[in-house]
Symmetry: C2
Subunit: 351 residues, 2 copies
DNA sequence: GTGAAAGCGCTAACAG
DNA sequence: CTGTTAGCGCTTTCAC
């Protein structure tokens, strides 16, 4: 026997296709009696309900949104901030009875057909660099889009904390304690795999919104506090890779003008930095202060001073924007909070 | 202007719709010259390629698979074994330029429309209990299905290690060291939230394939080693919840016939159990031996004896089965390995 | 190598 | 409350 469709059931029950369609998609449009009879026959015939594809083609909605992820999923799933973001998206999509299609974009490979073929009503873009080719593909498909943590695009809702203000405030707070030589452990600035000190030229060419905003905030904050530009060393340490954080931190601490405070762009980096500080025979915070970002699980236990932000909230708001058919559309500034704990203290007295 | 479709481009170029379709979907079917001309016009008109929905309806393929997860994503991502499984799925789907639709099914909520509306070519089922309603929905849609770690269904490829053999071998190994009283810390046996000692009646009603197979393996292994059934205590501790593991373990250790070996069904449970043992003032392994499952990150550092299995491999194979259009379809037995480390030793001399 | 015809299974819009 | 009409955008089949 062929496939069971609305028509099969309609013929069997002796009504029209539309009525059967209504029985499933607009149950209030027909009498209980008829609806139950139709559903009964459908169940008998093993009909699982209207084909979502055909329904989607006709109605223009498929009930799913896509999530574009920069990194390999292996990395994405391992990182607490990223997973919290996905959990937020899942909460909102779940509440809206909407699916969630993961579209990973491995750094090396080009986007390929994954985006072109994604059967979704909209796309959440998560931390892509400016001008990533995937963006153009989404644009070409004219899919509703929301970006979280970058890039910030004309006419596309952007969800993030006020990165610049947060970084500025944090930096001023650190400097107010008396710190005058800062080491910034930053995410990568561009998507080559370069690491090491970020000079002004490279800074100007930064392609990640969040990194750019935070670095700008740090530099502004430092300047406000009277700290010279050349007393702020910015180093790229890639994406939360402890193996990279350690040598960089140790090298800085052993230099002739070692930092007294380390501003890390994630708690993971901060925790690795703390290990490195200790490995150099120094204490946190007596000799070196350290701050992080995100306030992930484990930050509190480590007494880490950090910028708390809610990845869930970002994910949730992003999905809601795509899902709430009506709501207002525009940028969303998610709140942040600087959590002061033990790893921030005045620098040691000058020797 | 209306939407740009194949027809728009066909009219513009002066060829038929079919030819334009071929230019995108079967590029080798026409001359390079014509293909480039068509693609040029398409780009000019901002055409992003054939609509995946319409293509899917016609061709019967959409380029995505669904992943059914027992728990909320929050829990799923918190658990290293689950996460690795997803990474495996993602690797295979990524390689096949296929999307991955996450469908979380938290215990409380019923499947609802998530499955009915999922636009996918197939479904990976991950650790669902027997007869979970979601299974019927997938069946009703006649979607290709693969189950990983259960349930084991007639005619549906099943991917897992040889759980029974692994548990049997592990148990015999433990008993061979001289242990005669065992505590088994098991995942839940049914999806009520009952915890506590599993009697034979409840064991017989177990609804999770993996739990059932492991417990059967343990009991067989113990019997083979001459350990009496009543010297094996099985306790359900839910899903990797440390808060539950601790009191249960401590209670058992303080009983009149305390176990000398604890077999935990995951490394997470094992690590919590070790904490509990120490909290009772006992040493691992001198007083109590402990074994785990999975060999997650952290197991080696803790010196944990465990059953290593590759969650990635399971995810990868599952996705490949659904993705490789041709390959052989059947159950897949993934290899496991018992890793002997420090937490297993002979029991203390009898007092 | 290219085209015409025939739907895939469904729902929007409107008429009754 | 129910039915008719008219496609959604595409690919398959088969002819040329």
């Amino acid at each position: 026997m062929g496939r069971v469709t609305l028509q099969t059931i309609a013929d069997r029950v002796g009504v029209s296709r539309t009525t059967v369609s209504n029985a499933f998609s607009r149950p209030d449009q027909l009498s209980d009696e008829l609806r139950d009879r139709i559903r009964g026959v459908a169940a008998e015939l093993g009909y699982a309900g209207p084909d979502p594809l055909a329904r989607g083609l006709r109605s223009g909605r498929v009930g799913a949104i896509g999530v574009l992820l920069t990194e390999s999923l292996g990395y994405t799933f391992r990182d607490p901030y990223n997973t919290r973001f996905l959990v937020g998206v899942a909460e909102a999509t779940g509440a809206a009875d909407t699916g969630m299609l993961l579209v990973p974009l491995p750094p090396g490979r080009r986007p390929g057909d994954a985006i072109r073929n994604a059967v979704v009503d909209g796309v959440v873009v998560f931390t892509l660099p400016d001008a990533h080719p995937a963006i153009d593909l989404v644009r070409a498909r004219r899919l509703p889009m929301v970006t979280v943590d970058g890039p910030h695009l004309e006419g596309v809702p952007f969800i993030s904390i006020d990165e610049r203000a947060a970084a500025g405030a944090l930096t001023r707070m650190v400097c107010a304690r008396g710190h005058r030589r800062l080491l910034v452990l930053a995410f990568r600035v561009a998507d080559d795999d370069r690491t090491g000190v970020v000079d002004d030229e490279r800074l100007a060419a930064a392609r990640y919104e969040v990194t750019r905003a935070r670095l700008a905030g740090v530099l502004t904050g430092a300047r406000d506090a009277g700290v010279r530009r050349d007393a702020v060393t910015i180093v790229e340490v890639g994406a939360n890779d402890p193996a990279l954080v350690r040598p960089v931190t140790m090298e800085a601490l052993r230099s002739s003008a070692p930092p007294t405070a380390i501003l890390a762009m994630s708690d993971q980096i901060a925790l690795s930095a703390i290990d490195a500080v200790r490995e150099c025979g120094l204490r946190v915070p007596e000799d070196v202060s350290v701050t992080g970002y995100d306030d992930v699980n484990g930050a509190a236990a480590a007494g880490l001073t950090t910028v708390r932000q809610s990845a869930d909230a970002k994910g949730r708001r992003a999905a809601e924007l795509l899902t709430d058919h009506g709501g207002p559309v525009g940028d969303v500034v998610v709140p942040h909070e600087i959590i002061t704990r033990d790893t921030l203290a005045p620098p040691p007295p000058r020797r």
